[in-house]
Symmetry: C2
Subunit: 249 residues, 2 copies
Amino acid sequence: MSDIEIPESHPRYQSLLTRHRIEAGVEKGITSKQGLIAQGRGEAFDYLLGERTIPSADEAERVSAAYLLLAEHPVISVNGNVAALCPEEMVELAEAVDADLEVNLFNRTEERMEAIVSHLREHGADEVKGLTADGRIPGLDHERAKVDADGIGSADVVVVPLEDGDRAEALGEMGKTELVIDLNPMSRSAQVATVPIVDNIMRAVPNMTKHARDLKGASREELEAIIDAFDADEALAAAEKAIRSGDDT
Amino acid sequence: MSDIEIPESHPRYQSLLTRHRIEAGVEKGITSKQGLIAQGRGEAFDYLLGERTIPSADEAERVSAAYLLLAEHPVISVNGNVAALCPEEMVELAEAVDADLEVNLFNRTEERMEAIVSHLREHGADEVKGLTADGRIPGLDHERAKVDADGIGSADVVVVPLEDGDRAEALGEMGKTELVIDLNPMSRSAQVATVPIVDNIMRAVPNMTKHARDLKGASREELEAIIDAFDADEALAAAEKAIRSGDDT
């Protein structure tokens, strides 16, 4: 994906690419005002983290790949910032683990839903769920509860990147395995996750895809062993330590 | 200023008010996309700081008040986020220390300049500088260098809240005393400041005004003693420690 004219060797390439994509997302009606503010919060946490994938995050990404490969019906939830930041990378992850993509917005409008579905299709997605909205997440306001019954509604494992805390909590209460990508380890979304991935989504998603490809030939027992060795509280503590102290944990 | 219908006793009052003002700033053409992202970065640092004025910031605000009271020609620089977040508070500070207000934008357009000048007038400002733009800050691109010759151009003390690093550095090289409000103590703006104020602007500005009123009767010697006792590096270290460790320093 070469959508800006900056060499990949440029020291600020990733940061400039991110900025470019999020602004293009605004032009396309994909990224909201709240999305821009959320992007800034993420930038600050990533800055404190040293703009790198810390070892505990790499492990969380591998564990997430194992969960996705073992899932009966994995679904990847996509909101405005996710679609703006890494549409192609999300399509690749969905293909690698045979998951559905579902657009799911906190501030849902038909225009944004359709803009995001089109954007994902332009980046290689075949089927994109989210427009049917015939299912509900219990415990949330009507508009914020909408999901597809045959998508997130019936999923056993859900990837929820950059998600609102209330919704992450409500999905957890439905008994779903939640793989949450969030740069703030103290956020409610990260706290309620089965697997909290404290990493920049633009690094996390390609790395989850890489791990999924590496683990493709692994047995159920091997995948379960990877999952069993993971401790979400330890991963959160390591991420907070890295952010607070700058240490490489 | 009661511009949202939430009681001031609400635990998230300040945060909701901030959010409301920044969004209203977008509607009015005052806050830019970059401004929304910057707002998010600030939120993250403030969150780590515990959303409070740490003691070293309170001291920096008192020292800033002393500098402003001693200044020959103090000017308060106002950009889009500053105008959106605390227009009335800035007007009050300017009155308390007899300073000029000057609109100064990183992404300067005539429309935004005028929208911000009107917004400040609606919130009580008489004279607002920035539209003449007959002065230049040496060492910056043409558009980013523009200031009023009888405003920032000839100021001895400048309050520069939420400022870009290049501009903060260039202003410092002009020999001006810079009072910088910035929630990231590692930012270049904070690093080059005469007085770095690591605090949320919505807490910092009213507190600077309060200190200025308290110090109004103080002698030149007393004000100079307050200034001499301040160490910018110590203040930055205390702020970084508070952010990194969560300690009350």
